[in-house]
Symmetry: C2
Subunit: 126 residues, 2 copies
């Protein structure tokens, strides 16, 4: 039946969001799309992330076969696996939609004059 497929799709969405979701995972993957990076290089890229979190997220992504960790303790290189690279188009689509959304939000703020948008952070429901 049709309905089963739809249920499956919802589950797919939830699963994918589990993987790329959270404060950092998407950004880590996006940063590694560019090129392989070392721990501190990633850390600088991501700005506010603490080493604890970065370590944890990298381990998670490694376990999910999206990221490769290679090298001894002195110099570790993180890169996307082949499977990880299959995310490239998706991340591209996310970036593009993000830019579009920013424009929509800014346009809206313009017309409605409640312009306190700072990097267009999503509004919270009370």
């Amino acid at each position: 039946m049709r309905n089963k497929q739809k249920q499956g799709q919802l589950r797919d969405v939830q699963d994918v969001i589990d993987i790329i979701g959270g404060r950092w995972r998407g950004a880590i993957l996006a940063s590694l799309c560019d090129k392989p990076k070392r721990f501190n290089e990633l850390k600088r890229d991501l700005g506010e992330i603490t080493p604890r979190i970065l370590t944890k997220e990298l381990k998670y992504l490694e376990m999910n076969k999206l990221v490769n960790r290679e090298g001894d303790t002195a110099s570790v290189l993180y890169s996307l696996t082949e499977h990880g690279h299959s995310l490239d188009p998706l991340i591209g689509a996310i970036v593009m939609w993000g830019q579009k959304h920013r424009k929509v939000v800014l346009a809206d703020a313009e017309t409605s004059k409640e312009a306190n948008i700072e990097g267009f952070e999503a509004k919270q429901a009370s």
Copy 2:
């Protein structure tokens, strides 16, 4: 400089994940891609969600101009706004990648014989 652009992209990714992220938002949007739905219809679609959360998430999506709420108290219909519908291709891409990822994970479990995958929930980092 090139780097500024990259920083912007990371931020875009984080912003978008903020919007479609979390346990339910993506699924709600995906469910509404299909067609407009009423509160309880959505609730059934989503399975385990509690009314409190559904209310909250719908308000959030409404505030972010992605979802429309129309109708009096007796019969409320939720639908995607035009802007919300611009997410369609993105959600499609997510579903497709999710299916691909499931195959990769299942294939891996097959060969490594640790097949306890149930809906291929993402593995946790300790």
